[in-house]
């Protein structure tokens, strides 16, 4: 058999488990064979692992309007380096992505850039103002994969209910930043003993859980309204960046009841906690805030038992100057695309025996299921959007080497394993960090 690329002696691991070592032949954008063949290019991948390309349901790529923080080129390059073949961009840009033309323009430009594939999310309401719904049908046709007012919160329950009800007709899930603005007030970190002692405005766990509880009731209401009509393939509601044990508990119960709800968690909420704010460094200012170690522990359990569907990076780049403002004025967010996989592989799989196939599921099939994409498995005929990564080589996080414009990280200096060395999108290499043969 003839192909373009032959990845030899490579360990195969996907969400279904380990599949031993194989010679993977790739051509015409697909996996042609797991049993070798002829190819123009050979890679000796002894000691490396091949997995389906990662999919991020939540990244802020800042284009249009905030290219000083990130643009499509830097953001999608960062994604490719992080092992992602697919990325969902959030619509809270300047102006917000709330029309089909905006979605189409982003997709066209991303295709020209040719890094990770872009799947824009579009605003749920016009201008993300929380008033009039956007054109879900036209947005879906243009390629929008989610509707969300992320960057803001959905304060009007009536608008959210209408939005969910309407979007479902066109196969779109509504994704929400679940925080109650009134309860959150001006909080910049988790409310509790640490915030009280540090004298920083707190943002309570209950700002998240109260909003999730409300939104789950809205899902029940919308289901009743739909009366069984509408597509059942996808969830009505996707809860972004879950941060608390209490919020997780509500979603776990809702799922047990069979409610069509999905959720994601970010790498920072799994590996960092509020004590980091003791440094008073705005680097640790994220929304929702870092919670307690017990919350992080609960989220890891939720990721394991499937209550949490996927990892969403919430990649949220800002300029260095912005992150060096004070804790009240610095913006929320950190760049995560380039560290997500090695971070969680090291901290969860290597240090805590978290099962590798499960973590892979949460980076691959999980997010694709949320978005209504087909799963990618390592078998002949599968789409060759893949990542080759090194489970052994240890390297510190070096933010100054990020492709992202945001060259800072709360994990700077952490020694991690699992770094991607090759990312393929439909057989095409979008990132190559292979060491050249001597």
């Amino acid at each position: 058999m003839n192909g373009e690329l032959l990845i030899q002696h490579v360990r195969l691991v996907d969400s279904r488990g380990e599949h031993g070592t194989a010679d993977v032949l790739i051509g015409q954008g697909r996996i042609l064979s797991l049993e070798g063949g002829d190819a123009r290019r050979h890679i000796d991948a002894s000691g490396l692992i091949l997995s389906p390309g990662f999919c991020d349901p939540h990244a802020h790529l800042r284009e249009p309007g905030q290219e000083v923080k990130e643009d499509l080129t830097s953001g999608l390059t960062a994604a490719a380096r992080g092992g992602y073949s697919d990325v969902v961009s959030m619509p809270n840009t300047l102006p917000p992505v709330d029309r089909a033309e905006g979605v189409a323009a982003l997709k066209e430009k991303a295709a020209r850039i040719g890094q990770a594939r872009l799947h824009p999310a579009a605003a749920l309401t016009q201008g993300q103002e929380g008033k009039r719904l956007t054109e879900a049908r036209l947005l879906a046709e243009a390629g929008a994969v989610l509707l969300t007012d992320d960057g803001r919160t959905n304060e009007d329950a009536g608008v959210l209910a209408l939005g969910m009800q309407y979007a479902a007709s066109w196969g779109l899930t509504v994704s929400v930043h679940a925080e109650d603005a009134g309860l959150r007030r001006g909080g910049v970190m988790n409310e509790g003993g640490v915030s009280f002692r540090l004298g920083l405005p707190g943002n309570s766990v209950y700002a998240e859980s109260a909003r999730i509880a409300r939104d789950l009731e809205i899902v029940r209401y919308v289901l009743a309204q739909l009366g069984g009509r509408g597509p059942q393939a996808k969830a009505l509601l996707h809860v972004q960046h879950l941060s608390s044990a209490r919020g997780l508990e509500l979603i776990r119960q809702a799922k047990a009841e069979g409610l069509p709800v999905t959720c994601e968690v970010g790498p920072h909420h799994l590996t960092l906690s509020e004590e980091r704010l003791e440094s008073l460094d705005p680097l640790y200012k994220v929304a929702p805030p870092l919670r307690t170690p017990a919350d992080a522990e609960a989220l890891i359990q939720g990721l394991l038992d499937g209550s949490i569907d996927c990892i969403g990076t919430d990649h949220a780049p800002h300029t260095q100057d912005e992150k060096e403002l004070d804790l009240l004025r610095a913006p929320f967010g950190i760049p995560n695309l380039e560290v997500g996989w090695p971070l969680l592989y090291t901290e969860l799989v290597l240090k805590r025996d978290f099962p590798l196939p499960v973590l892979l599921e949460r980076f691959t099939d999980g997010p694709r299921r949320v978005l209504g994409f087909e799963a990618i498995w390592l078998e002949a005929g599968a789409e060759a959007s893949l990542v080759l990564w090194n489970p052994d080589q240890e390297r510190p996080v070096e933010p100054q080497r990020f492709a992202s414009k945001a060259k800072f990280s709360p994990w700077a200096g952490w020694k991690l394993r699992g770094w991607p060395v090759l990312t393929l999108v439909e057989g095409r290499a979008v990132f190559e960090g292979l060491e050249q043969p001597a």
């Binding site: 003993g193 920083l200 008073l280 460094d281 004070d326 804790l327 009240l328 004025r329």
Partner: protein, 319 residues
Amino acid sequence: MTVTPDTSAAAPTPRSLLDFQGWSRAQLESLFETSKMMQEVLARPVKKVPALTGFTVATVFFEASTRTRLSFELAARRMSADVLSFSAATSSISKGETYKDTLLTLDAMGVDAYVIRVDAAGVCHQAERWLGKPIINAGDGWRAHPTQALLDAFTLLEALGSLEGKKIAIVGDILHSRVARSNAELLPRLGAEVVACGPATLLPGTLPGVQLSTDLKTGLTDADAVMVLRLQNERMDKGLLPSLPEYIAGYQVTQERLDWAKPGAPLLHPGPMNRDVELEGPLADSSRSLVERQVANGQAIRMAVLYHLLVGKKPRGES
């Protein structure tokens, strides 16, 4: 004539005074000893010592506070330091001129120590990371105001002799008060028992080392001293308090309520005071009030802090 306080008893003085982390009781007591010597200096006809000749102290106020700035600047001048005074509105910080740029520009002028006031917690920590120089926190947001707590403690020590086993009541908006937080950190280290008392919406959930109460009588009963905090009108605007009369009804310290405290228990207030809001007007001028002592002691304390952080170091000079 020079003052040469003995600072050898304690471990090396921390580089900065950001809060009281890293300051041992022995170091704090040594600071109070130095403050007493500074009081003597301030009682002389020529209120000046050459201790900090050649040093440059910058006061950097991102939040306006004329009283605190003048107190620090006078303290530095009385120690013969040169003073560089910088004020900027935080609005200019939000508009792209960064704290870091501002501080590095000042640093190029050969500053030896910085006195920083800002409306957000943590900027003094950031400044120390960027500059690596002694920083005196002159108030950062709701977090800390250590020289205020030091002068409060010093004034209480003068009035009560010792703080061991003494009950100190702090009344008012505890949640948003850097003065309350710094006193909560300092006073228990000196042996005092602190009760912080205020409306439920202005109390933190917890504060280490401090008993919290919404009941003014609980707070004041048998108190050895009462510290009254300023109430900001902003709290009403943000919906945390229904109204001023409502606050006065529940929490104003009046002559009658002060009788719950021990006889003669002194009154402190960090200033500036809202007369007839947090404190009944005539009480402010009564013999119970130590407000003027606080202001005077602020001088001595700030001189002592500068002394402890700088003496023994080499001035940088112009660079």
